[in-house]
């Protein structure tokens, strides 16, 4: 069902595309009856949650599907029917006329060749040009995608570049043949927000320079608002809505689109209500007090170690939530891990409920263990696959001899109930649960001993946006009701603003700014925070255009 307007001269049009996979002898549909098209110089975004068929639809354009797939109806590219084209004919189109940018540049680039060699190969495989010319063109491409010192970087191997630079190299390779269509599959998902903003800016510029059509696949509504002209919303292999970007955000027609938009945590005034003075026990001591914390990872065999955290200090009052934000490599996870003793602090003190845990011996620590716990990032690996979820939740109580069997069992059921899972699920195993459900179990386990302090390390970043919304709501409710203090680590400013009372911003292992959430996020005092906030795309095309302007200013 296409309701959107078909542009006048689509260069690539997908019509009533269906893709089925043969699994155990049966044909299972992955994409049903999908139609969309993209014109020269236009950016079309395919959005949807995992399993919506957005990647499958775009991969099938170039015939990059597993051999057990079948496609039917039509994909037309500049007047040619792509379905039924032979390998030879496809090869002439792939890379040269339709290029692909992948999500993870580390695995998409070959680690044993320099990026120069790889780009030169990409050029020469479509055009028999002399080596010197191919090299000259490669340098030009590297300059075009904004890699500094192309003369030097042309000899770099993928692992010697940062994530953003790798993605730039990947894009340089993709545009080496001046393609008419660029398909970008989650091109910024693996990157930090500030780097993401740069890559999106680059894509926008390339579209203007080359006039290529861009199909961008993403789950991030902020990216959509930032870059797309038209949006195709997919769910379970079907297109549910197609609309120009402004209309999609201002008046979404389909129920699902509305749900998707509502689920995105927004940075908006309000944030997390202050805890009652009653629960905080006004003036009661801080639950967590960190002073001059330093963490150094030891180097190997006489080499110098790596200092991940440089003299960080902060406190979390009773019943308050501190959001710790920063880019990857800023040391925010290291700080969280130091709190719970997974890494050793090389200097400074960490006081939990008034006791310095850095100087305690393991025996003395035992009594304190029940005061803190942790919620992890990856729902796939945070639960022991060999234990039923009931046993997983019971484990901290059994280890710390919390109560007798019957009481433990009752507590498990009670906790399942609190995280809104059926109590009858205690016998299920983690692989029978979805990611969001597993994360609920992780929260239940963390709450088992009624901790005073919870460390949450990106607990929702691996979840789909609508699932994230429900888990965040649950988390907020539990925090309000149980009144535990929390160190909430996240790279997502929207999530942090939603949950935190206070915010601390981390850069290269140093605290650059901290204070009440509203002050820091609404009226940042440091350049870095301002840039971080401006870089995060918001799901609103009008506001995002304004932010982009701001970001360009701060980036300069």
């Amino acid at each position: 069902m296409t309701t959107g307007t078909i542009p006048s001269d689509p260069i690539l049009s997908v019509e009533r595309l269906s893709v089925d996979f043969q699994i155990a002898g049966e044909w299972t549909p992955a994409v049903k009856d999908v139609s969309f098209s993209v014109a020269k110089g236009e950016v079309v975004a395919l959005v949807g949650e995992s399993g919506s068929g957005k990647s499958v639809s775009s991969m099938s354009v170039l015939g990059l599907l597993a051999p057990n797939a079948r496609r039917h109806d039509s994909i037309r590219f500049g007047g040619t029917e792509m379905l039924g084209l032979g390998e030879e004919a496809l090869r002439a189109i792939r890379g040269r006329r339709i290029a692909m940018i992948f999500q993870e540049p580390m695995t998409a680039l070959n680690p044993v060749y320099t990026i120069g060699e790889q780009i030169i190969e990409a050029i020469q495989c479509h055009e028999p040009v002399p080596a010197a010319e191919a090299r000259a063109r490669t340098l030009e491409l590297l300059k075009k995608v904004g890699i500094p010192e192309p003369e030097r970087r042309i000899h770099s191997y993928p692992h010697q570049l940062s994530g953003g630079q790798r993605q730039r190299a990947m894009i340089a390779m993709a545009i080496s043949g001046s393609p008419e269509v660029i398909i970008a599959d989650e091109p910024t998902t693996a990157l930090d927000v500030t780097v993401q903003a740069e890559i999106l800016e680059l894509l926008r510029r390339l579209r203007e320079d080359l006039g290529s059509a861009v199909v961008i696949i993403t789950h991030d509504m902020g990216v959509v608002a930032d870059l797309a002209d038209r949006v195709v919303v997919m769910r379970q292999g079907e297109v549910v809505e197609e609309a120009p970007v402004a209309r999609l955000f201002s008046e979404p027609r389909h129920e699902y689109t509305r749900k998707l938009l509502a689920a995105v945590p927004r940075q908006e005034p309000g944030g997390h209500a202050e805890p009652d003075a009653a629960t905080t026990g006004a003036g009661g001591g801080a639950t967590l007090r960190v002073a001059d914390l330093e963490v150094e990872y030891p180097g190997r065999l006489g080499r110098k170690g790596f200092k991940a955290v440089h003299g960080v200090s902060f406190t979390i009052g009773k019943g308050r939530v501190l959001g710790l934000v920063g880019e990857s490599g800023s040391g925010k996870s290291t700080i969280g891990r130091a709190m719970v003793g997974l890494v050793r602090a090389s200097a400074g003190t960490i006081e939990i409920c008034g006791q310095d845990v850095t100087s305690l011996r393991p025996k003395e620590l035992r009594g304190l263990r029940r005061k803190y716990s942790m919620v992890f990032q990856d729902p796939g690996s945070s639960l022991n696959p060999r234990l039923s979820i009931g046993d997983s939740i019971a484990a901290p109580m059994i280890v710390n001899r919390y109560a007798d069997r019957r009481a433990v069992h009752e507590r498990v059921l009670n906790l399942l109930d609190q995280v809104e899972l059926p109590t009858s699920w205690a016998d299920r195993f983690p692989h029978e649960l979805s990611g969001g459900q597993r994360q609920r179990v992780g929260i239940a386990r963390a709450l088992a001993l009624d901790p005073e302090l919870l460390i949450a390390d990106e607990p929702t970043s691996a979840l789909d946006v609508s699932v994230q919304a429900t888990v965040l709501r649950l988390f907020q409710e539990l925090q309000d009701r149980l009144g535990f203090s929390c160190l909430f680590i996240s790279h997502d400013l929207g999530v942090v603003e939603l949950l935190s009372h206070d915010v601390a911003v981390l850069q290269h292992g140093r605290l650059v700014e901290s204070g009440p959430a509203r002050d820091v996020l609404r009226d940042p005092r440091t350049e870095y925070t301002r840039r971080l906030i401006a870089a995060a795309p918001v799901p609103d095309p009008v506001e995002q255009a304004e932010r982009r302007r701001l970001w360009r200013e701060t980036a300069r």
Binding site: V340, G341, L342, L365, R366, R369, Y372, S373, M374, F376, Q377, D378, S381, S382, L383, N384, P385, R386, L387, S388, G390, D391, S392, A394, A395, P396, I398, V399, N400, R405, R406, V408, H409, V412, A426, D427, F429, H431, R445, L449
Partner: protein, 294 residues
């Protein structure tokens, strides 16, 4: 294999599926997997026969019961006039006892070393893993011959030699698995809640590396049976008149033209047991993994 669900189930008597129902469905699933259940039934039969061999055997394996190399008795008479069936049963018992004890030695030491090396890391793992490399660099048969030649041809020595030689198989598999599992968040979760390192190793990590260990166990038993057979064939294992499958193959070789069954029976028995062990091991790996439960 003691798995963690069982150990924790004692603390949670109310959870039904974990112990009782879990075991029942395990048996059901095993029966549903035909290859595994046939192999398992065969191995069970072999184990029972081997255990009660002295009672089942129609004659004492040392007694002379008829004219040499004739077809008297159920499976014939060997070159010394002894009953072949009785000797086959006792030989099976000897071979299995040697192979199982050797693999038990290798499994216990090898798994323990692998767990410690993988979990503690640093210099401990360096020392353990380099030691394993040294062990691996010996040519096994030559070492076995040398050791048995020095210590004397006794079954205990064969057990020790095979046991020590097979340690690396377990250590290396466990070590590599532990390395990937120890950084899993559920292991860190156990550390945070204050679980003792030994408990983490045995209750959290071990069950998660159990699948490859089980496969390796069954494979190793089959290799150990063959190795014992080889050493006995060379006269370094079981000493006459005690038979093992290997010595029977060795002795039967001389009468290949007169009475080939002397060679064929023990050989076929070795092949069947080894095959059954391999099939059974593969099946167990799938059955023990809760992720494969449907």
């Amino acid at each position: 294999m003691a798995t963690a669900p069982e150990s924790l189930a004692q603390a949670l008597p109310g959870t039904p599926l974990v112990k009782g129902a879990g075991r029942k469905s395990f048996l059901k699933r095993m029966v549903a997997n035909r290859r595994t259940s046939i192999a398992g039934a065969f191995l069970l039969l072999v184990a029972i026969v081997a255990m009660f061999a002295p009672l089942i055997a129609p004659y004492d394996y040392r007694d002379i019961v008829g004219r040499p190399l004739t077809s008297g008795g159920p499976l014939g008479i060997d070159d010394f006039g002894r009953d072949v069936l009785s000797r086959l049963l006792i030989g099976l018992r000897t071979s299995l006892a040697v192979a199982l004890s050797a693999v038990a030695v290798a499994g216990v030491i090898g798994v323990a070393l692998g767990l410690v090396a993988g979990y503690v890391g640093r210099w401990v793992s360096t020392i353990i893993m380099r030691g394993i490399d040294v062990l691996l660099s010996f040519p096994p048969i030559v070492l076995a011959i040398a050791v048995v030649a020095i210590l004397g041809p006794a079954l205990v020595n064969v057990v020790l030699v095979i046991g020590v030689l097979y340690i690396p198989r377990f250590t290396r598999i466990v070590y590599s698995q532990v390395l990937s599992i120890r950084s899993m968040e559920y292991v860190e979760a156990s550390e945070i809640m204050g679980t003792k390192p030994a408990d983490i190793l045995v209750k959290t990590i071990l069950p998660n590396v159990a699948a490859p260990i089980i496969v390796q166990l069954s494979l190793s038993v089959s290799f150990a049976i063959q190795m014992e057979a080889g050493l006995s064939f060379l006269g370094l294992g079981a000493q006459p008149p005690l038979p093992s499958l290997g010595t029977m193959v060795g002795a039967g070789r001389d009468f290949l033209e007169v009475q080939p069954t002397l060679l064929i029976y023990p050989s076929v028995l070795i092949i069947l047991v080894v095959l059954a062990l391999n099939v059974f091991g593969d099946g167990m790996r799938d059955l023990l993994d809760p992720r494969h439960r449907t």
